[in-house]
């Protein structure tokens, strides 16, 4: 086995052609530098993951025949979350405009008429049946180092506030969504990205399945009347008029 013999000679330092002192020093330096570089890179870990406008498939549902408007908070356009694993790596996930895109697609499919209004616009000026204000209450993720598995997991807690055409809040509904992906299949960055997308799809599925049952939004159908006289009634987040943090899907169809 000539290869093994050569390796043993190298290991014992037996001189071979080309191993003069000058060459040895330069080879030493290169090998040590390479070793140190690899060790530093391996020790770093962590990453910045960006979601590039993920979309949900077109839902297979009959839209509710109502006119609905929504307004999104500022962080729906540039949501960034950072987690520092204690003593180790820092992970950053940049959702960008993903939440805005998600809810626009979702509500666009759930209702026959849907429009997004920006800050400053008064929904009572519109001829709509209901006004929706989604927001993110919490966003968390775990990486394999924390869970001691090979999985990335993402939890997102959204809050859906619904008002009628008069501006009276009729529902304040928190929902918790979850997504999980294996790093062994996709690699770290891609697995975290996929877990985030799955969590958003989970939220979409939950909203499609449960929103009407939990908030009664379909009862607002046909109630739209113009009125600027009634002031907007805002109910604090910790008080729910019609809320179900439902995560269980009933066996019977809705």
């Amino acid at each position: 086995m000539p290869f093994v013999r050569a390796l043993i000679h190298r290991h014992t330092g037996a001189p071979t052609a080309g191993w003069e002192l000058g060459n040895l020093k330069s080879i030493w330096l290169k090998r040590i530098s390479a070793t140190v570089l690899v060790a530093v890179l391996c020790g770093c870990g962590g990453s910045r993951v960006t979601l590039k406008n993920p979309s949900i498939p077109k839902p297979l549902i009959d839209p509710l025949p109502m006119s609905v408007a929504a307004r999104y908070p500022a962080n729906f356009d540039n949501f960034v979350h950072e987690e520092q694993v204690i003593g180790k790596e820092k992970w950053i996930i940049d959702l960008g405009r993903s939440n805005r895109l998600l809810f626009t697609q979702l509500f666009g499919a759930m209702f026959t008429e849907f429009v997004v209004i920006e800050d400053g616009a008064d929904p009572r000026d519109l001829q709509i049946d209901a006004f929706i204000e989604p927001s993110i209450d919490a966003f968390e993720f775990s990486v394999p180092n924390q869970s001691q598995t090979d999985e990335f997991a993402v939890w997102i807690r959204y809050r859906i506030k619904i008002s009628d055409s008069q501006g009276v809040q009729v529902a304040n509904w928190p929902i918790a969504a979850y997504g999980k992906s294996q790093s062994s299949t996709f690699g770290g960055d891609e697995a975290l990205r996929r877990a985030a997308v799955l969590a958003m799809r989970d939220a979409a599925a939950l909203i499609i399945m449960q929103m009407d049952k939990s908030t009664g939004i379909s009862k607002l159908r046909g109630t739209n009347t113009r009125s600027n006289s009634a002031p907007l009634t805002v109910i604090p987040d910790d008080v729910s008029i019609q809320t179900t943090a439902a995560e269980e899907i009933p066996d019977d169809p809705g």
Partner: protein, 220 residues
């Protein structure tokens, strides 16, 4: 020359360590599949605690679709997207008694008919390391590097496939694969891995059994 050939053959035979496997199937309804009909392979939801690896699902799908007698397999993600949101991890039916309600949802039956999906196969299970030992140390220096030592570990791959017949909206039966093996890693300068590929073996065994299970048009 003859000695070298013998050494090569023995090394080739032993470079993958031994595995023991057990494959079973339980048939609860008549099966059979027509030309053009297809199957979909899914993992049971992680909301139910399942941890089947996505690589394994892909492996089973590829194996079933390959070769003589290969079946038409609709990619998992294509099926889930086409039927969004009814096959998300949260919403996918966990039992066949949920199928009539699912099929009554707008558009679901039409999509399934359009894609000619006959069977849904739900995979459950995973591969775990069940034991191990030994030690290995490696070093690198200016003259080169190498490893010395001996390590071993035992893997167990247990998977079960539940087959749903979407024609009769019923449970057609289950196929299970249980494969275990011990891998070794002796090293004298160069490590020589002898890997027991339990997951690959389970994938192939399960895929072959599933093909026979689905294609065989036999009475229960």
């Amino acid at each position: 020359m003859l000695l070298r050939a013998v050494v090569a053959v023995v090394m080739g035979a032993t470079l993958s360590a031994c595995v023991t496997s057990r494959l079973e199937h339980i048939k609860e309804a008549k099966t059979g599949i027509l030309e053009g009909e297809s199957i979909v392979i899914m993992a049971k939801s992680y909301h139910l605690g399942n941890e089947t690896e996505e690589k394994f699902i892909k492996c089973v799908g590829d194996s079933i679709g390959r070769g003589r007698g290969g079946l038409r397999v609709i990619p998992n993600q294509e099926f889930v997207d086409a039927l969004f949101p009814w096959f998300e991890p949260r919403t996918a039916p966990s039992e066949t008694k949920g199928l009539p309600a699912l099929m009554s949802r707008p558009g679901v039956a039409e999509i399934i008919k359009e894609k000619r999906v006959r069977y849904l196969i739900w995979l459950d299970g995973d591969t775990d390391k069940t034991g191990g030992g030994g030690s290995m140390s490696c070093a690198i220096g200016p003259g080169g590097g190498g490893c010395f030592g001996f390590a071993w570990w035992q893997n167990e791959s247990e998977y079960e496939a539940t087959v749903w017949d979407l024609d009769g909206l019923e449970d057609a039966g289950t196929v299970s694969a249980d494969v275990s093996g011990t891998s070794f890693l002796p090293a004298i300068i160069i490590p020589v891995p002898l890997i027991a590929r339990t997951r690959a073996k389970a994938c192939k065994g399960l895929a072959d059994q599933l093909k026979l299970f689905i294609v065989a048009d036999e009475e229960v």
